[in-house]
């Protein structure tokens, strides 16, 4: 298998091997803010930032991120706008970056054109919730040709599919903690340790857990059974609340989460 020449290895090269990954939606509430908030996340210790390219119909998202998509689109954010945000971040930072969006904006932009642009700007990975194992080939080939990893997702219902998916995974594996859509949850009941153990039997690609994580305690617990924690809705909630003034709040929050993940043993 061809190794991808990108920065994803760096994401999990922390002292304890655990990463803290954050998400925000491009253009929510404005492009300038997204640039600033990504840099704040890096300063607070984030190991990877996922930038959501807004989509009109985000079927895997809960209300919080749905609303962020609507705000961003209303403010005129586009795929080209998201690339421009990354270009501006890259003037100041080499933090590993991923795009998260849906199949259609990427398909419609043209796979080759999209991933050429990603490679130029140093986008390391792409996460597409509506591109399961069976359909991934059409996107994975052009992505890999441009050193972008198409992140494989594994869900609580994957069961007999876990090892098939994991054996072909590149970059990192996104383990979905719970049933349903993105959003803060008070409790995560899935036996994630068992899922990660099953993945480990076929690959050493790192596993990060996302969906529903909001507190440092949850992040620590999730990182303890995997290689990292992913947080989206909790950050987007801060942005919804503080708007253009969210920088300091994001810094504080990301730092507390990163510290919690850093406390895990190897």
């Amino acid at each position: 298998m061809k190794t991808l020449n990108n920065k994803l290895d760096k994401v999990f090269s922390t002292p304890n091997g655990k990463a803290f990954i954050c998400f925000l939606t491009a253009g929510d509430p404005a492009a300038d803010c997204t640039v600033e908030y990504i840099l704040e996340m890096e300063r607070a210790g984030a190991d990877l930032v996922e930038i959501g390219i807004p989509f009109s119909d985000p079927t895997a998202e809960g209300v919080v991120i749905q609303d962020a998509n609507i705000r961003a689109l209303k403010n005129g954010m586009t795929t080209d706008g998201a690339f421009e945000i990354v270009r501006r971040v890259r003037e100041k930072s080499q933090i590993p970056l991923a795009f998260m969006t849906y199949a259609n904006p990427v398909f419609h932009y043209g796979y080759d054109r999209f991933f050429t642009r990603c490679e130029e700007l140093g986008i390391d990975a792409i996460i597409i919730p509506d591109m399961p194992y069976e359909e991934k080939r059409e996107m994975e080939e052009p992505a890999n040709a441009h050193n972008v990893a198409l992140v494989s997702m594994i869900a609580p219902t994957s069961e007999d599919r876990i090892q098939t998916i994991a054996s072909e995974a590149k970059g990192f594996i996104y383990v979905v903690s719970s049933m349903g859509v993105t959003g803060v949850r008070s409790e995560i009941k899935t036996d994630l340790g068992a899922i990660v153990e099953s993945i480990r039997k076929v690959t050493d690609v790192p596993c990060a857990i996302g969906f529903g994580i909001s507190t440092p305690e949850q992040a620590k617990k999730m990182a303890a059974v995997s290689d990292g924690a992913i947080v989206g809705s909790a950050i987007v909630k801060l942005i919804a609340k503080y708007g253009e003034q969210a920088g300091p709040e994001i810094y504080k929050y990301v730092k507390s989460m990163k510290d919690a993940v850093g406390e895990c043993g190897r």
């Binding site: 079927t59 609580p156 219902t157």
Partner: protein
């Protein structure tokens, strides 16, 4: 290439959480569709409960008035619950029951699929929740109450454009939340595989009957069959058994709304482009960045920005043709067929009637055209009145 492909269209573009459930659904369907008990139970429901076979009615006055082909109407409007939707729903809800599910969720636009689903759920003893765009709950308030009478819980969907597409989004979200005891009963030949196949199979009863009925009445196949297309379930049902009969023209009528040169349209083939949405690759109304367009039609049932993948392929191969019909033309046809034949049909079906009014004279009197009259129009009377400036509310 993945399963469920129609040329380049179709596939299973859904979140990983749903994949095992889709595979399980496909496996169950492949088993039960050949299970003699299942087939017998379903046929009993269709014949003894839903009122099949539906009539193939010779519209003599329309024929004389239009002066050309003999016009036949496939009367799906006479089915129990008043539309073709019951064909699919009885099949899927029975399948869900066999699979051990206890709960059904479904989207609805005009409310026809929601009412049909709530009906089948009541009959077969399943819990039922319907997702309906808030705007649609307002323009079809009577159907909301009807579903509630049947024991269903109706969730008004307040996201996005608050219409059919958003109701589908919300159903997909809810299904991801709870797959174990729940089946998503999709109402059209769309979504991820195996839905386009399952819905087409259950709707194909329309053309199985119609083909036999026309042969009995005319001794030969029709020159054309015509049906309205939103997602495309009644039209796929109407086309299916004629696809191999190459001499039969297949014509789908899309909702052009205020016209295909305006933004207020839902004509996907006329104005859309290739995309990936709602689990399938097909044609969609979308902008230059692949954002799904807010579409418009007077008919809530055709107010959808995409088209089923098998239709997309029938378009690509040229086997079927798709034509746009505007609100104005559909409303004229709604009134026309009421006065001429004494039939108040659904405004969706009136799109097909409108097109036949244009083309009938191009055919000779020894040829015939079948229109799929997919539903009855009681639900539309108030909206048509308002369209004509009569201040009438339900």
């Amino acid at each position: 290439m993945s399963k469920g492909r129609y040329g380049i269209h179709g596939g299973q573009y859904v979140s990983e959480t749903l994949m095992n459930e889709l595979l399980h659904l496909e496996e169950s369907y492949e088993h039960y569709k050949n299970d003699p008990d299942f087939v017998r139970e379903l046929n009993d429901l269709l014949n003894e409960y839903a009122g099949r076979p539906s009539l193939l009615y010779y519209a003599e006055k329309m024929t004389k008035d239009l002066g050309g082909a003999k016009i036949y109407l496939k009367r799906e409007d006479l089915n129990h619950t008043g539309s073709h939707k019951i064909n699919n729903v009885l099949g899927q809800v029975l399948l869900a029951k066999k699979m051990g599910k206890t709960r059904i969720i479904a989207e609805t636009g005009a409310g026809q699929h929601g009412v049909a689903t709530a009906t089948a759920a009541a009959l077969l003893g399943m819990e039922c929740e319907i997702y309906m765009g808030k705007e649609d709950t307002e323009r079809q308030a009577l159907n909301v109450y009807r579903m509630e009478l049947l024991g269903a819980k109706v969730h008004p969907v307040t996201t996005g454009t608050q219409t059919l597409k958003d109701a589908v989004n919300e159903c997909m979200r809810e299904w991801t939340n709870r797959v174990n005891d729940t089946l998503y009963v999709l109402g059209s030949v769309m979504g991820p595989h195996p839905f386009p196949m399952i819905v087409r199979d259950f709707q194909s009863v329309i053309s199985r009957e119609a083909r036999q009925q026309i042969l009995e009445k005319e001794g030969k196949l029709p020159a054309a069959v015509v049906a309205c297309v939103g997602g495309g379930s009644n039209s796929m049902g109407m086309f299916w058994n004629f696809i191999e009969d190459k001499e039969v023209e297949l014509i789908g009528c899309e909702a052009a709304g205020k016209g295909v040169d305006t933004a207020e349209t839902a004509a996907t083939i006329a104005t859309g482009s290739l995309g990936i949405f709602h689990g399938m690759k097909s044609y969609f109304c979308q902008d230059e960045y692949g954002q799904i367009a807010p579409v418009y039609s007077i008919s809530a049932g055709l107010d959808y920005p995409g088209i089923g993948p098998e239709h997309a392929n029938l378009h690509d191969t040229g086997r079927a043709q798709y034509v746009p019909v505007t609100d104005d033309e559909a409303v004229d046809a709604f009134e026309y067929i009421a006065r001429t034949e004494g039939i108040i049909c659904a405004v969706e079906s009136a799109h097909a009637v409108a097109h036949v009014r244009k083309i009938a004279k191009n055919y000779s009197p020894d040829q015939s055209i079948i229109i799929c009259l997919s539903g009855r129009g009681d639900k539309d009377v108030a909206a048509i009145a308002r369209y004509r400036g009569v201040d009438l509310h339900e």
